[in-house]
Symmetry: C2
Subunit: 340 residues, 2 copies
């Protein structure tokens, strides 16, 4: 077997605020041949996700930070080029966590062979992967929407948000999505089947929101924080549930924003409305709910009951710019890098 | 039966910020004779509780505001002077919600006859009443302390806080109490059996707190908000629970305090630590848990396993000043007014 070369993007220095050109560097390495039990992979798609911003910092997060000099982490789907693992064969499509690189050698136990009969392999990074499961588990285990209730989700054209709204609809709730810009807002109703799609950049966003939730809000699936939360929280009903899944508006912040201090007001609301505000990471629910998710959501996607959009950037070299753009809300749908 | 006169304290004008001498006025009325099904009560003790501050304002709260001109509301224990209800007899000790007055005529169904065999009647306003049930339900249903976990409660010498710590101990958890002033802090360990009692006014409070929770905090029972919350929340463990029961530090506030805005930081913690922050009012749990509470807590109190302290102010005319003092943290234990 000839030597395989992997082009890799590594963390050069920790970003302060928004990631810049200095944050990353590109290296090329010769990969070893796979040892017994290992496979050689060609990476086809790399997933870019907001959680990665936290891993680039030393600040305390729910996961260990990436070390400076490491290949940037990330979920990937790829093709087995060579296998020394009994359950995997050349040509298999697999899910792995190989990160920002073109090729990788992985232990066979660290990759999952994908069933690409019903749905394309790339869905394992989005609607049928971590973002989809985040939506499924957070909405159903924490949000617990009841038929007739109103569910609001922000970043609603993102891979988590669009799944949240569609699952809410399948469970009999009303789905109101909030996104950045009129095109995304329109896609929420036209493409994703939400009852209402709102553009939080509209001048009259607060009025539009008030009209969209005449019975108040029972579940607010929190993806963004910032001004959207400030508008939404005024409509939360008694006993409303707020799964806190992400806070992308705050991820690049380097210090607490200027006042006034809105925490006392929010706590007052938590008290007077008996709210449940619950942070979560999807890993908490994997053991009890992942198999159900793959079965139920896989069927919904195959039947077209849950739709998804992919935003595919060509070439690993464009991953850093695409990643920074995602944190600004520049993309629509699941952001993937087509690596090879 | 001769006419009975009731001296009453009414809401004269809504307070802006701290209640003042102008907030209340005293009136005297002749009570009608009890009609069929009613009882005439002499009020023995009036309960003063932080929630009343919210009811004096028009601002949205979990209960309807008091109307200007109404007798101020409040839980009371009293003695039946005359009864036209079959289940109540002259001399019975009863719990009612007669408010700030010396006598009242009440429908028999609005009063509960007290069993004063094991515990004194006044406990029905404190450790065996609303504050005790608030502690019991909030800690056990939301906080769910496990043996060996660390429970922190502020306003810990108050009637809710002292019960929270003692119930936590009975459930096998470690109890750390926070109170205002060295005397209260000492009483937490010496009188209430907490593992640690801290004075949040001490210069080195943050250091003392850090030493007191070497394994972090699993349950923070929130009674006060403000700087205490700011210190405590830095120690919350993964999956910690924060029952939000009261926010006395904020009750007199008339506007959001100056920045920086600490809400984004708190939300970030909720996310990275998978926290559950849950507001509640004890009424939510009455149906399912009140009978258990009366049985279990009544036994604990009778056996001396849960202790309580009463701070008794003599004379209804002193209720307004005692109420304002309570909001400043001036009292220790359950604040009662001895009415007659």
């Amino acid at each position: 077997m000839s030597t395989t070369t992997s082009t890799q993007i590594r963390l050069r220095e920790r970003p302060v605020g928004e990631p810049t050109a200095d944050t990353f560097e590109t290296t090329t390495v010769d990969l070893p041949e796979p040892a017994d039990g290992e496979v050689l992979l060609q990476i086809d798609h790399l997933s870019l996700d907001p959680y990665m911003r936290g891993r680039l910092s030393e600040a305390e997060s729910y996961a260990e930070p990436l070390a400076v000099g490491d290949v940037v982490m990330g979920g990937t789907v790829g093709t087995v080029l060579a296998s020394r693992h009994p359950d995997l064969a050349e040509g298999d499509q697999v899910l792995s966590y190989s990160g920002w690189q073109t090729h990788a050698v992985e232990p066979g136990r660290a990759v999952r062979k994908l069933d690409t009969g019903a749905n394309p392999a790339s869905t394992a990074l989005g609607v049928l992967g971590m973002p989809g499961f985040t939506a499924y588990a957070g909405l159903l285990q924490i949000g617990r929407p009841q038929p007739g209730e109103t569910v609001v989700v922000a970043a609603a054209m993102g891979p988590v948000g669009s799944a949240v709204g569609q699952i809410a609809k399948l469970k009999g709730a009303r789905a109101v999505g909030i996104a950045g810009g009129p095109d995304k807002a329109r896609a929420l109703t036209e493409e994703m089947g939400f009852d209402v799609g709102l553009d939080h950049r509209a001048d009259d966003f607060r009025e539009q929101l008030a009209s969209a939730v005449p019975d108040g809000i029972d579940v607010y699936f929190e993806n963004v924080a910032g001004p959207v939360l400030d508008a939404v929280r005024r409509h939360l009903n008694l006993y409303a549930r707020v799964p806190v899944c992400g806070l992308v508006a705050n991820y690049n912040a380097t210090a607490a924003p200027e006042g006034p201090d809105t925490l006392p007001g929010f706590l007052g609301q938590i008290l007077t409305k008996s709210l449940t505000v619950r942070g979560f990471i999807q890993t908490e629910f994997v053991k009890d709910h992942y198999a159900d998710f793959l079965a139920e959501m896989g069927q919904w996607v195959a039947q077209g009951k849950v739709r998804y959009r992919e935003d595919v950037v060509e070439g690993l070299e464009n991953a850093p710019e695409a990643f920074a753009g995602m944190l600004r809300g520049a993309n629509t749908g699941k952001l993937l890098v087509k690596v090879s």
